[in-house]
Amino acid sequence: MAVLVVAEHDNASVKDATNKVVTAATAMGADVDVLVAGSNAGGAAAAAAKIDGVRKVLHADGATLAKQMAEPLEALIVPLMSGYDAVLFPASTTGKNAAPRVAAKLDVMQVSGVIGIEGADTFVRPIYAGNAIITVQDSQPKKVLVVQPTAFKAAGNGGSASVEATAAPAGPFKSAFVSEEMAKSDRPELTAAKRIVSGGRALGSSEEFHKVLEPLADKLGAAVGASRAAVDAGYAPNDYQVGQTGKVVAPELYVAIGISGAIQHLAGMKDSKVIVAINKDEDAPIFQVADYGLVADYKTAVPELMDELGKAGV
């Protein structure tokens, strides 16, 4: 059996999510190839070739793939599937955008949000914001999976697979890239970060959000996240949102500040290794999942925490 993993990458290098999806693919007991679809993506293809367990890298390069939009990805991947039993996408916005298009074209029902692989045809996924976990048997001849990278360990980078070129689709397509506004930050990416400091509605304003959370995040080498309430109120950009309908994260340390712990928020962070909650309401639901809860006003607790971290040499 052969499985194609669609790489998450920025043309220059592959994201850690790719290594994690390779681990999921390997668990299916299959030969694993990685597809790098991009523009001037030689760097990413070379990086993908180093991932442990990869048989070969398919590298499709062209202007139509520059933004990895859904239509060209569909046009590229559907014909490749004659050589594969399954295709695995990471649960990034790029993967979630393209996977169902490929599935529908193959007349396949996809399995979304996969957090466990129990064999070549048996997959585990959460439903209802993670309040129920289902095991799904997929006996379709071709399978399309969207894999939650945080649920898998990253494969190492000690391999040396071959890289094979494959043609990029020509188009034309009915959708066109216009522009993008990407946050520039030296902090780690939310979904790959080992530590996350996350703020909620309590922060009250955009200035306060950044003034309080960023120094703490910098001290901890952490990424910054937010609840939906904080994003809706404009305190933080949309891609900071952690939760059922935002990003799913599983860092070693998650610090929730002024977040109540609604089920939709918990769905995105409750697999973190250690959870810290700072909230002035001792009955806030976040304390039910927190390993260490501090009932306090963040306005005094965060500066104190900065001092204590300093004293402890962090």
């Binding site: 996977a99 029902m109 959460p126 209802y128 095991t135 048997q137 950009p237 949309n238 059922q244 501090l294």
Partner: protein
């Protein structure tokens, strides 16, 4: 321009689902069902295109049709959409589970009959969280798609859509007809007024079946087990930030 909006009936977002003790599924009996929040945003956007608002000129949309695939009770979900301002509804009656692929095939049939210029869906239903139907429908129709929309600007034969993507915002143009799926920041749906709720009761709802569109809804995937998620060990409350830092050191995370 005619706009079609598929709406799904789901467990109310305030409620927590229970797994049946025998692991055969989740227990939804006697629980409040509501319109999927993302579908509510989709209806609101379509109605703004009709009424004017949210950056849309009045009469950008001339008719808004809501469609739901589900049990008889999905009528209520359609009435909800009609109360927000949709003009009429279509209920495709299907009991039991209908996977996104089958939903998309049924919607394709509805679209071939209705010929809308734009279809707005929710990006995900908050029960199954598949985030799949819109994209599948776009592929089946060979239409362009703009998923996770936080802003939609209509201009002639195109829609310019700003999408919430990892890392920020992306803006794309799609040729109409097109599929759009809504993200949370697209708009804030109104509360339907009492007169509009009353008016909605008189708006027409057509009844259809999957067979009318030649679609077999037998599921492709078999759910073999439904389990409770693993529970986290209850933690402790610390009294001071100094104690907190001590604990984090012990745990080896700082």
């Amino acid at each position: 321009m005619k706009v079609l909006v598929p709406v799904k009936r789901v467990l109310d977002y305030n409620l927590k689902v229970r797994v049946k003790p025998d692991g055969s599924g989740v227990d939804l009996s006697n629980l409040k069902m509501s319109i999927n929040p993302f579908c509510e945003i989709a209806i609101e956007e379509a109605v703004r295109m009709k009424e004017g608002g949210g950056g849309h000129a009045k009469d950008s949309a001339t008719e808004v049709v809501a469609v739901s695939i589900g049990p008889e009770q999905a009528q209520e979900t359609l009435r909800n959409a009609l109360a927000i301002g949709a003009d009429r509804g279509i209920l495709v009656k299907a009991d039991g589970e209908v996977e996104p692929l089958a939903v998309a095939k049924i919607l394709k049939g509805v679209i071939e009959a209705e010929k809308p210029d734009l279809v707005i869906l929710g990006k995900q239903a908050i029960d199954d969280d598949n985030n799949a139907t819109a994209q599948m429908l776009a592929a089946l129709l060979d239409w362009p798609q703009a998923t996770f929309a936080s802003k939609v600007v209509l201009a002639g034969n195109k829609a310019t859509v700003t999408r919430e993507v990892d890392g920020g915002l992306q803006t794309i143009d799609v040729d109409l007809p097109a599929i759009i799926s809504t993200d949370l920041r697209l708009n804030e749906p109104r509360y339907a007024s009492l007169p509009n709720i009353m008016k909605a009761k008189k708006k027409p709802i057509d009844a259809k079946t999957p067979a009318d569109y030649g679609v077999d809804t037998a599921p492709r995937l078999k759910v073999t087990k439904t389990a409770e998620p693993g529970k986290r060990q209850a933690g402790i409350k610390v009294k001071t930030t100094a104690e907190l830092v001590g604990k984090l050191k012990e745990a080896g995370v700082i």
